[in-house]
Amino acid sequence: MKELSLNILDITENSTKAGAKNIIISIVEQGGCMTVTIKDDGCGMTKEILQSVVDPFYTTRTTRKVGMGIPLFKLAAEQTGGSLKIESVCEQDDPVQHGTTVTAVFHTDHIDCPPMGDIVSTLTTLIGGNPDVHFLFSHQMDGKTVGLDTDELKSVLGDVPLNTFEVLKWIEAYLKEQYDAPSSI
């Protein structure tokens, strides 16, 4: 992937596929470190799937095809000297508190750290494709934080869906404005 925002789009699509109702995307940049966390309350993964996902070459390959999304994200993080971690509780083991958290750490001063790219487009794509999912986004940088909570927008919009063209345009402008605002240092 050319941009981290594309990996984030791809990894978050796993969460929507897992039936998540709430997805938290958080990016924290501090010094030379960037931590990306994608947390969902979807169906989660069994121990076997979790094992094969992190280590695709150890998969039994009998039950499912080998996915590329997580290995690519892991590789991107590791190439900067960072790491990727997945925690998951599957629905069968805990019918109430199930879900998956993917955490990737990047060393942003490393020459192989990919650019973030168009994260705003990633968010409008996710919201446009999954208007009924609650997305909570925050991007903390040195000196400012950009954020979006689709529940807050829904309480204003009422019956008008989040994937209405004009609404997506508003979200795009709202986020861009936050990114363009001067930081406090």
Binding site: M1, L6, L9, D10, E13, K17, G67, M68, G69, L72, D118, S121, T122, T124, T125, G128, G129, E152, L153, V156, L157, G158, D159, V160, T164, F165, E166, V167, L168, W170, A173, Y174, E177
Partner: protein, 123 residues
């Protein structure tokens, strides 16, 4: 500053429109957004379709949606067009630029852009 008040204004404007929009869409544009599609550039292709369909006033007639892996990874980004009573059209190796032509010629004009289809890619 973008404000929630502005969003409320959009809501009020849309409420009146909802009735008009409920007519069934004649055409469906589906963009493959699995890992292979995203890596090959599906995000700008999807966004181009969303923008163009709206700009050309086709929103009542055409819906644009996302799907997972269509299963022909080497041809990504892949876009499928469904229309009642017609065969599915599969466009391959799409770009935002090609999307313009598909919107103009196919979605608006009803004429398939043959040179972008999988059949001509295979030929």
């Amino acid at each position: 500053m973008k404000s929630l008040a502005e969003l409320a204004a959009i809501r009020d404007k849309m409420k009146d429109k909802v009735v008009l929009r409920e007519g069934t869409s004649d055409m469906r544009v589906v963009v493959g957004m699995a890992t292979c599609g995203i890596a090959a550039g599906a995000r700008p292709v999807l966004n181009a379709f969303v923008e163009l369909v709206n700009d050309e006033g086709l929103a009542g007639k055409v819906t644009v949606s996302q799907t997972g892996c269509i299963g022909i990874c080497q041809y990504e980004p892949v876009v499928e067009v469904f229309e009642a009573g017609k065969d599915k059209v599969t466009y391959v190796k799409m770009t935002a630029e090609k999307a313009k032509k598909v919107v103009e010629q196919h979605l608006k004009g009803g004429e398939v852009v043959t040179e972008y289809t999988i059949d001509s890619a295979k030929a």
